[in-house]
Amino acid sequence: MAEPYLVVEHLTKVYERGHVVALKDVSFEVRKGEFLVIIGLSGSGKSTLLRCINRLIEPTKGRIFIDGVEITKLSPRQMRKFRRRIGMIFQHFNLIKRATVMTNVLTGRLGYNPTWKTLLGIFPRSDRELALRNLERVGLLEKAYVRADELSGGQQQRVGIARALMQEPELLLADEPVSALDPATSHSVMQYIEQMNQEDGVTVLASLHFLSLARRYGTRIIALKDGELVFDGAPEEIDDRKFKEIYGEEAEEVEIR
């Protein structure tokens, strides 16, 4: 078997304030090209887990390896450079609302360009061409010079995807990418993510709220409950009993098609 691409070892995160343990000794491995879905209730630690992987949040304990590099050991400068390889999309899109779509997409290239140039707003022609290609890919080419806050939710998330594509990432972290969207738009957004996974070979880690979406798009599922890993396996393995274990006795499965 090939070497796993991402290794998470005994990851623990304690928030000092309030002494909340967000992650308890979480360990798992991800192979290159997998589409791993993380499920669990709100507050179960999904977001914290994703943010530990690109160190937007500093883990308290444990080690994380990406492609053989122990990223938990990298200096801030090295980490900043490494983040170019990790794309991320967010539940609330996190776009710069008052800037144009083009500017938003170009921010995905910040890690590749010297700061003094980007401060003046200068990006190489090749970056601008890449931006247009990626906008074309998510079907927003004609919106390139529209302000980001004038777009609909689904369109904004597609801008988020184009921004992540700009990094030409090997790994994509998607933090509840569709929970702020309606069901129809959700599928269109998920399909763009699936496309990245299948055509560009990007390894995807996505947290999702709906089990039906997780089953439809994931090649593997892990489940968190109160910061602990309670399930790791194929989507088909989650039966009614498992489901109740993850979401609690009172939960009923809701379908989104």
Partner: protein, 382 residues
């Protein structure tokens, strides 16, 4: 989630109750002071002596006052009539099931504040404060309604104002060997305000990022710089522009517009810096996260995630400051800051009321025009 042990909760509650007791003590101290003041004004001086005589406490008076007010506070605390507890939201309202009738008529919401015991106490305290203030400041309606002879004379001469020296310099009024007209000095004044606002904003803008918790609160060194910058803002802002003008007038030269500009600029830096950095602290952290995740540096975070969010409010605050600076620059000459105020106070001292009227009318017109202009600009931006 870890649950706090109940001992910690009890300790926290005890601390809050002690603080409530302290607040009540201060309140009763204030009431005691008011009572003493009125005693001295009426009973002590007039009834006992027939002339004004300061109230002196016997040796045991001070400890008695301190202990007496403390006892009153403790009594309030024990009987539940404590304003401090109410202020700290430490009410002891018993939980009981509400009847359907109470829910229907709205009685469940409780009495309006002014009809509760705390409301009555607050109103009494407010009344006491107004009465006390009235006597401390010695407000006298008669004096206000019967202006002095000089005021009648002055008002008679101020209308119509004499605009003789609007364009032509007044030969009698000289600053450092040169005569000035109203227009000359008004131009100087407006530019004083303009320069001070532009310079102040230019310095406050970069500084404000160093005074924002969400930008600096990533390392101990960052916290240190944050503390220093915030301290600078707070201290320099609490020293009023007029006081800065005194400092700079002595430093540079009495009556020099440069002193006025420096005074306005320093206060503008501190005031705008504080307002700016509060805006920076209030941004949506989402875009910051996104730029960091894409490998952006700290400066890139500011350029791409912070600045776009704060630019509109920065403009609004700067225009607001421009208003303040225009008004301030017209009187800063009083303490040697230069500008139109030099002329204003010269005519006032000379008793040239008609000429003074012209200067005042010009100031009013210019300040109004600038207010209007900045108001329209602000509407455009926000």
């Amino acid at each position: 989630m870890a649950v706090k042990p109940s001992a910690a909760i009890d300790a926290a509650r005890l601390r809050r109750r002690l603080f409530a007791l302290f607040l009540d003590w201060l309140t009763w101290g204030y009431v005691a002071y008011a009572v003493m003041y009125f005693l001295q004004e009426y009973w002590w001086s007039r009834t006992l002596y027939g002339f004004y005589n300061p109230l002196t406490l016997p040796g045991w008076g001070w400890p008695a006052a301190v202990l007496g007010t403390l006892a009153m506070a403790a009594l309030c605390e024990l009987t539940g009539y404590s304003l401090g507890e109410r202020a700290l939201k430490l009410e002891r309202r018993e939980e009981r099931p509400l009847s359907r009738e109470e829910l229907l008529t709205g009685k469940a919401a409780g009495k309006p504040f002014w009809r509760t015991q705390w409301g009555v106490m607050s109103i009494l305290l407010l009344a006491l404060t107004v009465a006390l203030g009235w006597h401390v400041v010695k407000i006298s309606p008669e004096a206000l309604l019967n202006p002095s002879e000089r005021a009648r004379e002055m008002l008679g001469e101020i209308f119509p104002p004499d605009f003789r020296y609007f364009f032509t310099p007044d030969p009698a009024f000289e600053l450092r060997g040169f005569p000035y007209s109203i227009l000359n000095l008004m131009v100087v004044t407006v530019f004083m305000a303009l320069l001070a606002t532009v310079l102040g904003a230019a310095v406050a803008l970069p500084l404000s990022f160093f005074g924002a918790r969400n930008i600096m609160g990533v390392s101990p060194a960052g916290w240190f710089v944050y503390g220093i910058v915030r301290g600078f803002f707070n201290v320099f802002r609490s020293i009023e522009t007029m006081l800065w003008a005194v400092v700079f007038a002595i430093w540079i030269r009495w009556g020099s517009p440069l002193a006025g500009i420096m005074a306005l600029t320093v206060h503008t830096i501190a005031a705008l810096g504080k307002l700016y950095s509060e805006q920076v602290e209030g941004i949506d952290p989402g875009p910051v996260e996104a730029v960091v995740a894409a490998g952006g540096s700290r400066l890139e975070v500011i350029r791409y995630a912070v600045l776009p969010q704060v630019v509109p409010s920065f403009w609004a605050f700067t225009l607001y400051r421009w208003d303040i600076n225009v008004r301030m620059s017209t009187v800063i000459a009083l303490v040697g800051g230069g500008g139109i105020g030099d002329m204003l106070f010269y005519y006032k001292n000379e008793g040239e009321w008609a000429l003074l009227g012209a200067v005042m009318a010009t100031i009013v017109a210019v300040v109004w025009a600038m207010d209007y202009l900045s108001g329209r600009l602000r509407e455009r931006i926000v």
